[in-house]
């Protein structure tokens, strides 16, 4: 028995081999990380595509439709990129969106999320490497980001979050790199990526401001005003270019540089309605703004990771061995925290956290905006607290295990419950069944019902909407001559179709064929069908 108990198996490995393996891993880690993330992102899309959740957000369908309208519709062209949402995500869809499968599977939008996911993971890895964090900390940091199921889910969708995260993290990374190594090219790269982020979401605009302040602060204190002035101007020349283009776009298309701010479909207009309904709880209330965002953040990051990240940030900022400029530049990583709280406080954004604020979810996915930052901070924490390296890793695995087990994906709930997940299946199902093989146009507002258009599987050329120029103008003046069907929320002036046709005598020409919570469907009475236009006859459509 003693012999059995004392039985051992010995392995002698040359230290040289171990060193070589270590070097090999170190040298090729980027490649392995990239491959792993590519596989995970493909798996993510496959998973949610198969279970039908990849397009759970109505916004995802709207994004895809915007991209599609650039290449197909009664008035295709770049002008279809719109005015509310920033254009880069839709612009990036153009190479693939014309293929029906890419449009209807959501892949056209998901591809950029997937690529951004991989890019973001690599940036986290590189950021930590630049901070001289060991391979273990770097891998853990990437894992914190990559295995977060909320990130995992949004990787599979045509939403803009991942693209924003990638561009913002890239900007923060090159900013830190510039502070560390002083290469001007890094500053320009940072400006380039912040410029891209300003074309994805307005969060990027705030980041631009933060980054400029950080650059100016650091340079003024280190090298004086003149140097600061020059570098800031250089940075802004490229960094601000995207915003400049957006203003220009709004002037050219809508005749007003601030159309995206005050236009009828702007967030400002939406928030004004919510405010009137007494549901913009956070406006003017800093406590509620902080509370709402922290809940969203904690729900997205599974609380413990956010707390560990806070610990890592604290260690990073008080680490005197790290260059002061690098530490200051890392503040860019928490820009989304400031942006979201301020946006809530000033009423530019709305966020409902079920059980905390309202009885529904809305925009809770905004809490995911700090995930790359949390991942970087946790990676740093693990590296610095060497004694607790395995403890932190164990806790990460423990929490992730239970998050997966309990199906804790607040971003999916955000998509399915509440305003983001309006069930449009009935309306789109009706259109699919009754319109597909019939000649004629559907008059509908994309601002209100884009998800219906997407889910109907009908070609974009079938719809007359706000972006179809003369067709829209004609159809809203004399609907009976252009639209065989009308889809709208009757008596709701926020629905552009109803708003524009309410003063016509449209009721005389149409029968209400179905009524649903989110829209009503009207069909032209049989006696008027002979004279209705069914072909795209307008030339030089403006």
């Amino acid at each position: 028995m003693k012999k059995i108990i004392n039985f051992t198996f010995e392995l002698n490995i040359s230290i040289k081999i171990i060193e070589n393996v270590k070097k090999f891993i170190e040298k090729n880690a980027n490649f392995f990380v990239a491959i792993s993330l590519i596989v995970i992102s493909i798996y993510s899309f496959d998973t949610y595509f198969r279970n039908g959740l990849a397009l759970a957000y109505n916004d995802a369908r709207s994004h895809l439709d915007i991209g599609r309208r650039v290449v197909e519709g009664l008035k295709p062209g770049l002008a279809q990129l719109g005015s509310v949402w920033l254009p880069l995500p839709h612009f990036l869809m153009i190479p693939t969106i014309w293929i029906d499968f890419f449009w209807h599977s959501g892949l056209s939008g998901a591809i950029q999320s997937m690529v951004s996911y991989v890019f973001c993971g690599l940036l986290i890895y590189s950021y930590l490497k630049k901070l001289k964090v060991g391979v273990f900390g770097r891998i853990l940091g990437v894992s914190v980001f990559a295995f977060n199921i909320n990130v995992f889910y949004l990787t599979s969708t045509a939403m803009t979050e991942l693209l924003l995260l990638a561009t913002m993290t890239a900007s923060a990374y090159f900013l830190m790199s510039w502070h560390k190594e002083g290469k001007l090219l890094d500053l320009i790269k940072s400006a380039f990526f912040v410029m891209l982020s300003t074309l994805v979401r307005y969060d990027g605009w705030f980041l631009l401001g933060v980054v400029v302040v950080l650059i100016a602060f650091n340079l003024i204190s280190e090298k004086g005003y003149k140097e600061a002035e020059g570098k800031v101007i250089l940075f802004l020349t490229l960094g601000f270019f995207g915003i400049f283009l957006w203003f220009l776009w709004n002037i050219l298309i809508f005749g007003d540089p601030l159309y995206f701010v005050f236009g009828p479909f702007s967030a400002h207009a939406q928030q004004a309605q919510i405010f009137e309904a007494g549901e913009l709880f956070t406006k003017g209330n800093l406590y509620l703004s902080v509370k709402a965002y922290l809940y969203a953040l904690f729900y997205n990051a599974y609380t413990v990771m956010a707390l560990l990240g806070a610990g890592g940030a604290y260690l990073l900022w008080r680490d005197s061995k790290i260059n002061k400029g690098v530490r200051i530049s890392s503040l860019a990583l928490i820009a989304p925290l400031g942006f979201n709280i301020l946006a809530l406080y000033f009423g530019h954004s709305v966020l409902f956290v079920r059980g905390v604020m309202g009885d529904t979810w809305f925009n809770v996915r905004y809490g995911m905006m700090l995930m790359p930052s949390i991942a970087i901070f946790v990676g740093f924490l693990v590296d610095r607290l060497k004694n607790f390296r395995y403890v932190t890793t164990g806790i990460f695995m423990f929490v992730t295990f239970f998050a997966i087990l309990s199906g804790d994906v607040v971003t999916i709930e955000d998509a399915l419950i509440g305003a983001s997940g309006k069930n449009v299946v009935e309306v789109s199902g009706w259109l699919k069944e009754n319109v597909t093989d019939e000649p004629g146009f559907v008059l509908i507002s994309v601002a209100s019902h884009d998800a219906i258009i997407f889910s109907s599987d009908l070609p974009m050329t079938k719809f007359i909407h706000e972006g179809t120029g003369d067709y829209w103008d004609e159809a809203t003046q004399n609907p009976q001559e252009w639209a065989k069907w009308i889809v709208m929320r009757t008596n709701d002036v926020n629905d552009m179709v109803f708003k524009d046709i309410k003063d016509t005598n449209w009721e005389n020409y149409y029968n209400l064929v179905d009524h649903y919570p989110f829209a009503d469907i009207y069909e032209l009475k049989p006696e008027f069908r002979a004279s209705v236009q069914t072909k795209p006859v307008l030339a030089n459509n403006k």
């Binding site: 012999k3 002698n12 040359s14 609380t303 806790i395 087990l405």
Partner: protein, 516 residues
């Protein structure tokens, strides 16, 4: 040192004897549900485990008679047409000797309740031994062992019928075994204790994971010899895994006897909401709960053990355990938070054990923060964190060792200690069934009465001359009011801890001067 240990055990035992809840007598099955025993007596909460002990001893049965089932409600399950326990069976079995001994002396309930007290004393001893083994000084180790028991909610749960002290004992015993030996026997004991801990409370399987992982890690040793790394796998020691076999056999037999299925976990059987007048069960799954309150206390939904833990609960759970007025450690045992500073010292000398301790605290806190009911039902303080209090007590001994000559620190420490001791003595001799805040608010609104949910509720009891202490109810109430009894007990507790602190402060030289 031996004398000190004997004194330590004697003091601990005396205070616990004064505090353990109970009434004299051997209650019959008909008496169990009497107001005297149930609502106003020692069975006010968590009757399920005692019900199983009672059923095993008196009825020789794993399933409950209708009377015992009614007594056990709401902690009652139903399987194959029988009323059964919904708790892991370990604690009920372990308390059988206490029950029998008590019955012999005409106090069966008190005897059973002493089981937790006995394990609490063992925990005090183990905390002291572990701290000393890790390098703490004797006196600080002794003080902090007492602090664990008397200045945290662990005190309340040493005086009634909860499993927490046994779970803590099994965890501490495993840590001590790790410290003592890396032999085959050591591994055997650790696996045995691990398996046993799961039969006492299923979540212990997670709580003791760091110990098990560390133990497995010791099966691999590495040495640098010349230019080679020698990795030795002690494969023979893996046979120690057989330590789980006897426990598994017991566990499977117990499950088979209770549920006709050796793999059925007790928490996963159908819960019973109530028993109708014909003795038929109304199952919880058929009860439609109003889903109106956004802050409602969630009842575990899915009938799988792991399904009870949800990461979505983490924010609320962490708040409840750490900061809430109804359970937060900051209110119910702030003294134990000094232990966090102990990582600084232990990390330097025993980094691996420091990591094990951090893991245990982390898992303990996170696990029960994910639990649907982090309040632990009606309770006193955060009962789920008792294993963490024990670990923090060990760590506190290093803080005390290092600051023993710092008068300012000792004054602050003492003030926090006095507060913690008073609060927990109050809980121990009155009741460990305070409602969560949210329930108290509902009750207040319903009955138009201010229902307290912090230790103010215990204070009210004392002022109403109510105590659940067996000693008070059988003897002391003839001479003292409950309030006076509280003063006597808490003073005794405080003196027990204060004396060594004063002794600790006085340096060797000064001690000699005083002795001269």
């Amino acid at each position: 040192m031996k004398k000190l240990s004997v004194v330590l055990v004697a003091i601990t035992a005396l205070i616990l004897l004064l505090s353990v809840q109970g009434l004299p007598g051997n209650p019959t099955v008909d008496e169990l549900s009497d107001k005297k025993w149930k609502n106003e007596g020692p069975f006010e909460a968590q009757r399920g485990r005692f019900a199983l002990t009672y059923s095993l001893v008196e009825d020789k049965s794993f399933s409950f008679s209708e009377e015992i089932a009614r007594f056990s409600l709401p902690d009652l399950g139903y399987k194959n047409g029988k009323y059964v326990s919904i708790f892991a069976p370990g604690f009920s079995f372990i308390s059988i000797p206490g029950y029998l001994l008590g019955r012999l002396f005409g106090a069966s309930q008190f005897g059973a309740y002493l089981t937790a007290a006995v394990f609490a004393i063992l925990n005090v001893i183990l905390i002291r031994l572990i701290a000393i083994k890790l390098g703490a000084k004797n006196l600080p180790a002794t003080i902090t062992a007492l602090i664990f028991l008397f200045a945290t909610p662990a005190f309340s749960y040493a005086t009634n019928f909860y499993q927490h002290h046994i779970s803590t004992f099994l965890m501490l015993a495993s840590i001590y075994t790790l410290l003592l030996t890396n032999s085959f026997k050591g591994h055997l004991v650790i696996w045995f204790l691990y398996a046993l801990s799961i039969t006492v409370d299923y979540p212990n399987g997670f709580l003791m994971l760091p110990i098990i992982i560390f133990s497995i890690g010791r099966l691999i040793t590495r040495k640098k010899v010349n230019n080679k790394l020698k990795v030795i796998l002690h494969l023979g020691k893996t046979i120690a895994l057989i330590g789980v076999v006897p426990v598994l056999i017991f566990f499977f037999l117990s499950n088979w006897s209770s549920y006709n299925n050796p793999l059925q976990l007790s928490g996963t059987v159908d819960g019973v909401y109530e028993i109708d007048y014909k003795g038929r069960p109304v199952l919880t799954k058929y009860i439609v709960q109003p889903d109106t309150n956004e802050n409602k206390i969630e009842s575990p939904g899915e009938n799988t053990f792991l399904g009870f833990f949800k990461t979505r609960n983490l924010i609320n759970g962490l708040y409840v355990h750490l900061f809430s007025p109804d359970r937060g450690v900051i209110l119910y045992g702030p003294i134990i938070l000094f232990g966090i500073l102990g990582f600084k010292y232990l990390g330097k000398s025993h980094s691996k054990f420091s990591a094990i301790f951090a893991s245990i605290i982390g898992i303990n806190l996170i696990l029960y923060s994910m639990w649907g009911d982090p309040w632990g039902g009606w309770a006193f303080g955060s009962r789920y964190l008792i294993p963490s209090y024990a670990v923090l007590a060990i760590l506190t001994s290093f803080v005390l060792s290092n600051y023993r000559r710092n008068a300012l620190f000792l004054v602050i420490f003492y003030l926090v200690l006095a507060y913690s001791t008073a609060v927990n003595t109050l809980g121990a001799i009155t009741s460990s069934t305070n409602p969560p805040k949210i329930e108290a608010q509902v009750l207040s609104a319903r009955f138009n009465k201010d229902e307290k949910y912090t230790y103010q509720r215990n204070w009210e009891m004392i002022n109403q001359n109510k105590s659940k202490s067996f000693f008070f109810n059988s003897i002391a109430s003839n001479y003292l009011t409950a309030w006076e009894y509280f003063i006597v007990t808490s003073t005794l507790v405080l003196i027990s801890i204060t004396s060594p602190i004063v002794y600790l402060y006085i340096s060797e030289g000064e001690r000699k001067k005083i002795l001269k």
